[in-house]
Subunit: 166 residues, 2 copies
């Protein structure tokens, strides 16, 4: 698949790229969302090139976004954070304990097994509650700038609709 | 800015969203790239909704993507990883030591200061070398599935061109 990047990219360079935009996000916005393949975080939110930072990981969990948020706020001016989780998320389908067991089956050495046991996979059982929890974590984190506006949303992969939660 | 999401999203729902796609990424591909506002990782690579996982953080560093990669590979079938760093990256402009000092200036309590001193901001001094390093980290990590194809790229924010590194 990556072998097809070059062919697609040639068309993008010609027709779609906005050249020479500045480094800081012009809307002073950072989005935290899931890595899910069905979320096009530019198109779905109407975000243009250059406007917002896009942090994405499994689940869109903010616990793993703190390093990026500090860089975004202290060096590049972000003052607003939007947390977006989504329906049909893989994070609703397993527990950390189960996934640790699955991964350990392929591993022979004890140090790697110990490393796996340290990973919190940050799954969740309730979608809206995970959004509220992540917004709260950011509001209470002393490493996030005071006065940062934090909002929380659910993206519906079935129909593409974005729902405001908090 | 997030207040404008709903207005834009209504247009997206009507014209662009592909409804009811399956959860696993159809191209079995995971992309790791930077949160940078100028990188539209769908448009720039010609990726369609449903095809690939998009993991994004400051710099596009794989050290912070391992949790997501395990979930993507073990639960959702990804078998290929593309690492994409970019020109003009903020990660080329500071050191962890400098940023820790900046953040600590706003903090009074000692436990938060100690927490800041534990953060490695994962900056880099050479762009191509950071791509090679991240590809190597994934190739050598026992938590990444054996046989995973890993490629490394540089995205040029000035002109939108993608350059194959490794």
């Amino acid at each position: 698949m990556a072998s097809e990047f070059t062919k697609h990219n040639e068309i993008y360079v010609k027709d779609q790229h906005k050249p020479n935009l500045p480094l800081p996000p012009s809307k002073k916005l950072l989005i935290v969302t899931c890595m899910d393949a069905r979320i096009d975080s530019f198109a779905a939110l109407g975000i243009q090139q250059g406007e917002a930072h896009h942090v994405r990981n499994a689940g869109g969990r903010v616990q793993e976004a703190i390093r990026s948020i500090i860089i975004s706020q202290r060096l590049l001016g972000a003052r607003e954070i939007a947390v977006i989780h989504h329906t049909g998320c893989g994070m609703l389908t397993f527990t950390t304990e189960q996934l640790r067991d699955t991964v350990k089956k392929d591993v022979v050495d004890d140090s790697t097994k110990a490393e796996i046991d340290k990973i919190n996979f940050l799954e969740f059982g309730d979608l809206e509650e995970s959004v509220r929890e992540d917004v709260r974590i950011l509001q209470e984190n002393p490493l996030v700038l005071k006065g940062t506006k934090v909002t929380g949303w659910v993206f519906q992969v079935e129909d593409g609709k974005l729902v405001h939660i908090v």
